[in-house]
Symmetry: C2
Subunit: 222 residues, 2 copies
Amino acid sequence: MRIALLGGTGDIGEGLALRWAFHSNHDIVIGSRDPEKARSKANEYEAKIEDRGVDTKITGFENGMAADRADIIVLAVPAYHIADTIEAVEGSLHEGDILITPATGMKRDDEGFHYHKPGAGSVTKIAVEAAPEGIPVVGAFHNLAAGRLTDLDAELGIDTLVIGDDESAKSTVESLAEDIDGLRALDAGGIANAAEIEAVTPLLINVAMNNDGLHDLGVRFD
Amino acid sequence: MRIALLGGTGDIGEGLALRWAFHSNHDIVIGSRDPEKARSKANEYEAKIEDRGVDTKITGFENGMAADRADIIVLAVPAYHIADTIEAVEGSLHEGDILITPATGMKRDDEGFHYHKPGAGSVTKIAVEAAPEGIPVVGAFHNLAAGRLTDLDAELGIDTLVIGDDESAKSTVESLAEDIDGLRALDAGGIANAAEIEAVTPLLINVAMNNDGLHDLGVRFD
């Protein structure tokens, strides 16, 4: 499939782009508000994969053009840019496309990181509310450490929880997630269940901060 | 050490009692509002452990008398009974005692289970506010499936997150947790970090409900 990573020049976008390019045959399109930056990062990622002897083609475009070229559109942007990113590419979304949101909201105080639950109920729900009629939104990849994804020598062996109200779209995303070696996709139900998943991200950071030797943590349900 | 499980006739109390009695030499005291019920459950748990060829002594008392006999007091009661249980045993708490709270708050709707965050910020914080001056509260054992603990044939291989503002009390609880085979204790920081831990419990139920073959789930940070 063709996967566009909007905000794909950021760390989680880079991690997902590298993993899919390395482990699957999907076409990867990097999106950015700045097309020059998108092209330059796309070339950089492509070179990293080819250095490992895997032939791949990663392209870079302005977000709207990237979305237009893809069936799967990953909103790899901070939580506060989810709604405006969807609005900016709305005209490039077509029937059959799927939006994926991995974002979560966090705030930090002296004790550690805390989940910052938005008024909508979750960041995933913000994406649902901003998405055009008929374009399903699936939440996934919330609890993955970007640094670990980006390091292709790092083994995963962790889970990602997938939520959505469109079962067919959810099942497509589960399958895309499992195209990444070492990643297991688990169904966590509908969009209403998003907040508890998003809250795991600050928890992972707190656990890593308080235990020597643990960093870039993921989670495994067992 | 002497560990009292207040509300120890319930399922999480039974699970912790059986695991500690089976895997360690701690003295286990079952507490209940009803001393008859406490004694009867204590005998039942003791018989289960002795059936496995392990010599143990589990006693049962009314909650206040159970707390009086122990150094470690586990509040194995539902979230809405945390404060009144602490108040009921307050006169039986002594300097050096540690209160442990494993409770979380949940509500259910058509989609699944959701974390019900109390006004205090977390259920753990409710315990802190109800505890007498000088008695430290440690949050632990929030995300353990009672059914899995109770089945001594079930392997654990999972983590429990420990939080508290008294480092020495937290370290004692981490060590008690690791006395249970297959349980790893991880430090998740101070009481302010409790909500994200408590929210994992409804998440585990949602994941189990939506994936065939998964039940009594625990979590492993990796």
